[in-house]
């Protein structure tokens, strides 16, 4: 072991109460920093799951203006070939995507994309007695669509079943029309096609618009209603990194020639709210670390004064400037390290304890507080405290290195 380390360790130990208090100070800073980060992170993650969670992160739609021979089409083996008649548009016909199966298969293989759900959606009406309500048909492949908006876990009545002539509807629509389970309801699409569905389930996704308008049926039925047999009109996707959505959308748009959407562009206000939260989170944590830095620095300045005799002796033995500085910088490092570990224990325990309090909040069901323990924030807090410890020790260390041995030996 280097002697600078062993001297630093001895000073640390002989510091007693002084060392303990400094470590406690750092711990409190780190604990608060972790707590705030996990609270804000928890709220945010909850909001994201709630708001973005039931929406597609990226989606592809037909582009009205796309020239017929541009873009690419993917065959099942993943090779790209020219897009031909992918997007068709004629006078009264809705824009649509043909040849979508190979495209879906290709997207399935894209490592940045986690879920791919082809859908056929379009406007229509529900007719019950003399009531007519506008709705949006959502034709989906359930196993795929469920990974985007998990309706199965949000059913308030019945089951999620859109096979055959079955459908599921939102609570608001059910309320509006007085629909109950197993009711048969007549629907008509904008194209004039009529179909009768049996209501198998009623869902609540927490967003009024969807609860009132979305009418889930099988992809086949939607295609029939919307005169899209063999076609779809959107591909909805989830991605691995939600903040990469713009990049992924742009990439897919360029490669497929389709119009691409990203949640980040569609939910601008939500996104800027999230960014404001991130900003205040960063600000709070920065100030916590500044406080930690001043704490460590001031204790080390005192320590340099206390140890000035010994520094003088070490210098008389020919200790290098670097060695003297190291002794104090190692103390800063140790304070930061031990303090951050103790602080992590505090912070995580506090988060954990609060997470055990039962109750309900907007974003995390079953918990009173919307806290989530996020390892990245913990690692960040530890690294920050260690770096801050070392940086804060530089000034006191230089002071120690500059001490005049004659002065301290003469006057002790």
């Amino acid at each position: 072991m280097r002697f600078e380390v062993s001297i630093a360790l001895r000073y640390f130990r002989s510091g007693g109460m002084q060392s303990v208090l400094t470590i406690l100070g750092v711990s409190v800073g780190v604990a608060v920093s972790i707590f705030i980060a996990c609270l804000i992170g928890g709220v945010q993650e909850g909001l994201i799951t709630r708001i973005i969670g039931s929406l597609a992160a990226v989606s592809l739609e037909p582009k009205e203006s796309v020239p017929r021979s541009m873009g690419k089409v993917f065959s099942a083996d993943g090779k790209e070939s020219l897009l031909l008649e992918r997007v068709e548009k004629s006078g009264q016909r809705a824009a649509r995507i043909g040849e979508w199966k190979p495209l879906v298969e290709h997207l399935d293989r894209d490592p940045a994309i986690t879920v791919v759900s082809p859908t056929a959606s379009g406007a229509g009406f529900v007719i019950k007695g003399n009531q007519v309500l506008p709705i949006t048909f959502r034709g989906v492949i359930p196993e795929r669509a469920n990974k985007i908006t998990d309706l199965r876990t949000r059913m308030v009545a019945g089951i999620y079943d859109v096979s055959g002539q079955n459908c599921v509807v939102g609570v608001e629509l059910a309320k509006e029309l007085g629909i109950s389970l197993k009711d048969k309801i007549r629907t008509r699409s904008g194209k004039g096609v009529e179909l009768v569905f049996t209501v198998m389930g009623i869902f609540d996704v927490g967003i009024n618009e969807i609860n009132l308008r979305s009418f889930y049926v099988s992809l086949t039925n939607a295609q029939r209603l919307l005169e899209l047999v063999g076609y779809i009109n959107a591909i909805e996707m989830k991605v691995l990194e939600i903040y990469e959505a713009n990049t992924i959308a742009d990439r897919l748009g360029a490669v497929t020639g389709l119009k691409s959407q990203s949640w980040m562009r569609q939910q601008k206000e939500f996104l800027s709210a999230i960014q404001a939260q991130n900003g205040s989170n960063a600000l709070i944590r920065t100030f916590m670390m500044l406080a930690v830095a001043f704490g460590i620095a001031s204790v080390l300045v005192v320590s340099v004064v206390q140890k000035s005799r010994e520094i003088g002796i070490l210098k008389s033995m020919g200790a290098r400037t670097r060695s003297i500085m190291l002794i104090f910088m190692i103390q800063g490092l140790l304070t930061g390290l031990i303090g951050s570990l103790v602080g992590t224990a505090f912070g995580v325990s506090l988060c954990w304890a609060l997470m055990q309090i039962p109750g309900d909040n907007m974003t995390s069901p079953g918990q009173l507080f919307p806290i989530k323990i996020i390892p990245l924030y913990i690692i960040q807090a530890i690294v920050a405290a260690v770096v801050v410890g070392v940086v804060a020790s530089i000034a006191p260390a230089r002071r120690a290195a500059k001490l005049d041995p004659v002065e301290v030996i003469r006057y002790g």
Binding site: I313, S316, G318, A319, T321
Partner: protein
């Protein structure tokens, strides 16, 4: 080796302060040969400690040249001076200044650690031998603050000698000790001088101790007043 004096002082002067200037040393010239055992005496404030600090490369002269082992100190930067101290110099101070958080043995090993990190096994052996010679082998694992003042000063002697330093500078090493301990510390220094050829420069107020050295340099008002050998009746 014997040709180059270990210490050469050539017209050395020292002035403290810039605005209010205090002249502390004037025209100090003398040489010390390897193996000498000399006392520096003089009234309080005459400049003895200043002189010793200049020789110890802890302070810089205002005029003249200080040479240690033939090397001129004014030509060296801070790291050069530190290197020179590691190579040539051991210090013993009045207030024995051991590192209180370390054991006696660790204190004696400190010059090795400072020089190159962890001490070798050979160096450990040397340190234990030194502690044995100052009669403290059985106390070597005691904390420096857990032994008596006289014992601490003996540890300081062992520390000054660790690494076979050719020159030991002692500033009132017995100033804080009773007669018995003073005699013992003095005898130890003499022993190292005779057996190992270590050069000692000892600042002292005690005329009896000064008489037992081989040479007395007396400083009055920052000048060398006398520089005389001591005749020892055989």
């Amino acid at each position: 080796m014997a040709d180059t004096p270990i210490v050469q002082m050539e017209k050395v002067g020292k002035v403290y302060g810039t605005k209010i200037q205090t002249r502390v040393l004037t025209d100090v010239t003398f040489t010390v040969q390897q193996g000498e055992f000399a006392a520096i005496i003089g009234p309080s404030g005459s400049g003895k400690s200043t002189l010793l600090n200049l020789i110890g490369a802890l302070d810089k002269p205002t005029e003249g040249a200080v040479k240690i082992g033939g090397e001129t100190l004014s030509g060296l930067d801070d790291e050069g001076l530190a290197r020179l101290r590691r190579r040539y110099l051991g210090f013993i101070f009045q207030f024995h200044y051991l590192l209180p958080d370390f054991t006696a043995l660790e204190n004696v090993l400190m010059p090795f650690s400072v020089a190159h990190g962890a001490p070798t096994r050979q160096e450990r052996k040397e340190a234990i031998e030194l502690l044995e010679r100052v009669g403290l082998k059985d106390r070597m694992n005691n904390r420096a603050t857990d032994i008596s003042g006289g014992q601490q000063q003996r540890v300081a002697i062992a520390r000054a000698l660790a690494g076979r330093k050719p020159l030991v500078l002692a500033d009132e090493p017995t100033g804080n000790l009773d007669t018995e301990n003073s005699n013992e510390v003095f005898a130890l220094m003499r022993d190292f001088n005779l057996k190992d050829g270590t050069t000692f420069l000892i600042v002292t107020h005690d005329p009896n101790l000064a008489e037992r050295t081989d040479r007395i340099i007396s400083v009055i008002d920052g000048r060398i007043a006398h520089d005389v050998p001591v005749a020892h009746p055989k």
